[in-house]
Amino acid sequence: MLLFDSEKKQTKQKHHGRISEFQAIILAGYGHKLYPLTEENNVPKALLPVANKPMIHYVLNWLEKAGIIDVNIISELSGEHKIGHYLKNVYEGKLKPNLEVIKEDVGTADALRLIKDKIKCDFIVISCDLITELMPHHLLDYHRTHDPTFTALYYEPHNTFEGDSKQFVGIDSTTQSRLIYVASGADLDEEFSLRMSLLWKFPRVDIHTTLQDSHVYIFKRWVIDLIAQRKAISSVCDHLVPLLVKCQYQKLLLEKEGIDKLANSQEPYQKIAHEYSTTRNDDSKSSPVRCQIYIYRTGFCSRGNTIPKYCDLNRHLSKASNELNISRISPSAEIRTRTQVGSDSLIGDDTKIDERTPIKRSTIGAHCIIGKNSKISNSIIMDHVIIEDNVKIDGCTICNGAKIMEKSQLKDCIVGGGFIVESETQAKNEQLVEFNDLS
């Protein structure tokens, strides 16, 4: 008995004594672009189901694979309860994320500023809506070898979506890895211009317009000091990243913002290695700010930050779910005869589906009740949804606790949480939400 106890103690100590190389900060914001899915009566963005798992599950899973222990989730007040509940009672992974709650609606960098005391080492900033097949160690190793101020992960989207603004990404063509220009299409008007100082420093610039920002950044620790000092930096991708990128070729800016001092306050990992190395020190390493880009082209990577992209994520993952080891139809689901569930669909726990209701390319959550002679295709149906008989649903997203009465026909609609669609409703391309939500 005694022996057993001491052993337990030891393992516990070991766990605490481990020095982590990276900290992760998951930004679980409100998700404005996902309205009305993220309304109060449904779930916060982090918990929106993708192939019947909350989005944040994939992020936590990815971080776990990356071997990161120290994980902080920044959530807004509205999501505190639900995310807390999820982490405590539902989440099954090995991580023990720390939930930080901040007051609503601040920029991403503002959020980091509020928890700056928690950041002790180089940190990864990741959004809760990212799903990728990229093996995390590829990115981390890339960051370790280049040892830059930050590494940003960009991906080539497999599909283009309307809501996405064009991203202009400038990469130094000779190294193919330095990020030297970022701009969003929305910020640029009719003209595209580059500073000559950039072109003297980096004579060959590749400008890509097909890449998308995954909003995964690995920052050096001193960057949090910069965020803390500069109150004007409110967003990571709109302010912080462009500022650092510019500092690579605008010396004056670098000095004005005092970034050179901050950057030199932290010794680069490889400095000592370079000092003892017989090969010549690479000149590019001498600049105080270096921004690297990792472009992921070979596999799936996407964010669920808009409704079309969220739906696409669902479609993609329910198709590919074999690889993700999700059981297609929960053993506890009840499906009557003559109802066909396509191989690209998922059915959650305790869901009941009545006769002659074919289900194609859709994900259906837990505890749903679906009536007879209905037809469901290309849709996302969350938990506790009731669909009566003879209903046709195509391309819709139906939130928790909604009810769709008989003989309704919905196409490309979004049904808000708890909303009741009257019988024989015919709707196309509409958002069906409670009236008071609109106010």
Binding site: S197, L199, V205
Partner: protein, 710 residues
Amino acid sequence: MGPPKSSGKNIEAENVLQAVVLADSFNERFRPITLDKPRCLLPLCNTPLLEYTFEFLAVAGVQEVYLFCREHSEKIKKYVNESKWNRSYSPIKIITIVTPEARSVGDALRELDAKQLINSDFILISGDVVSNIHLEKVIEAHRMRKANDKNAIMTMVVKEASPFHRTRALGESSIFVLDVKTNECVHYESVETYPRKRRMVMDMEIFNKHTDIQIRNDLIDCQIDICSVEVPALFTENFDYQDMRKDFVYGILTSDLLGKTIYCHVVKDAYAARVRSLQTYDAISKDILSRWTYPIVPDSNLQEGDSYEYMRGQIYKEKNVELSRSCSLGEKVLIGAGTKIADHVNITNSVIGRGVNIGPNVEINDAYIWDDVTINANCSISRSILANKVILEENVIVNKGCLIGYDVVIGPNVTLKAHTKISKHKQKYIAFEEKDKEYEIEDEREERGEGKEDDDGKDDNNEELNKNGYVINLVGKIGKGYLWVDEISDDEDEAINLKNVQVASLAYNVSNISLSESSASIISDQSSYEESDSDESTAQEIFQKEVVQTLERAFSDGHTVEIALLELNTLRLASNTNFHDLRVVVIPTVINRIDIKKGMIGTKEILTRWGPLIAKLIFSNHDQIDTIKILQEYYTENQSQLKVFAQICRILYEMDIIEEEALIEWYYSTSTISAELPSTKNNIHMQIKPFITWLEEAEEDDDDDENKNV
């Protein structure tokens, strides 16, 4: 009979590869040397420039060359007729076309179109290109592209190099924007050193057609173009196109109507450069001697009668060269036949022509000495060009960047300043006196007078003439030659061009040309974006003007302090100035509004309204002192209103805009030296003294109070 014959002709016609060589550069960079000889016949490593171009074209399989000449056409014709290209075994047929009225590349191409000489794709090249690119591949690639893209009309051959490569002409490099996949040129922008470019700008529409583009500032454009037949026709259609790049390429790329496309062929492993300035002349000579241009090197003996041998240390020597035992040849030296070099001569990095006589104890570094030059004892030459038959008498020192024209005699005992140009031809001055003023800024002003003297007969004491009628100070007692000054045009654009030319001069050195500070920063510090001095003064003036205007608007329209501040800050950010600059303008403008007649009330009125604005421009104790100094300066100049100064200080103090510490610090820091200053400053002190004393007393009281409390 007819049909088969004609088809046979067509095939033949397609097989003939044509080239158009522009033997004229349409500029005057090599003046005064080009007064005697066209640029394309100037020797580069003892071989006329045109020879390199012909060799390059012959290797590429060109069969027909149309040679466009303007100036010195007779000399060019004669040269071509006598050269090996006119022999029966010559692979290329050269047809010279004289266009005396052509003023630009555009004119030449319009002439070409009018003559209808071209019947298929042709190579357009200027007569000063040195290259070992395998052009057949490029032409093939061009034809492939044409098959894919019917609108493709031109391929520009460009060479990849670092942006600071020595053969990249300073002052006129260019940025190419290419489509990554196809190498289509989607945007072209020329970069001149003056006026300094800060941003490159292109149309967003480009991104609608091309998703991935590459912006390249590392390409050497040696203006080798593969053109389709449409190109000359397009020049005719657009009669205002002059320059191949700035007008034609830019015009085609920005035109929505034409819908033509231009491609770039980027060469990585071959050599290509164009002798377009003295700076590139120097660079290319060195490249040839270092064999970057292989197989186009001196020991390939391009011309008939050449007999160069390659020796260790990159020394090339022709037969029949007399070297003394004690002379020493450093690396990269080329010596032509019949040259005699006497004792104790040191030569490094230089090209010596044929039949040159070099006397004892001569130093030659980085110099280009053409045929039949005589250099007498104890001369020293660095980084300069001495044209044919120049004679340097004893003890002549030629400093960097000099250009000495044909048949000039200099010496004895003369030192030529850096960047001096001397010619046998007297320069014709137009409105010389006006220009003279401009010249003052340059350091060569002493030597300039002789043209003036001859022109308008004014006597200049400094300019003593020698027996040949030349200025002694310039060319020495038995010298012959006039000073040549690059012409500065009244036109502002051309004045800027001249600066660009200076940058491209031989031995261009950052520290030598004072005017070129901003370009110096490009070179020495690639990433900096400091303002150049000349820019700043004008920018400053504009800024001040705009600030005053903004304030006046604020006064007249009754803006709030916040709005005025916002506008001022915008201005400040836009012109990249600091708060001090803003204060310097704002404070005098505000206090100017004070109505002195009203006395204290008037002062108070204005300051209660606009004081907060001044307060918003002050952040530290230092700024407060700065503010007082600005006030002091203002009242030093406006003596009559001196009384108001103390009032203002008082009010600003009461408004907490200036604190007592600042006032006292300022008072004592200036009062110590004020004894020597004009009486006004003392007056200011007199004015403010009571107030300061009052302040000090108050402070003491405070201190006392505090002490008591403790």
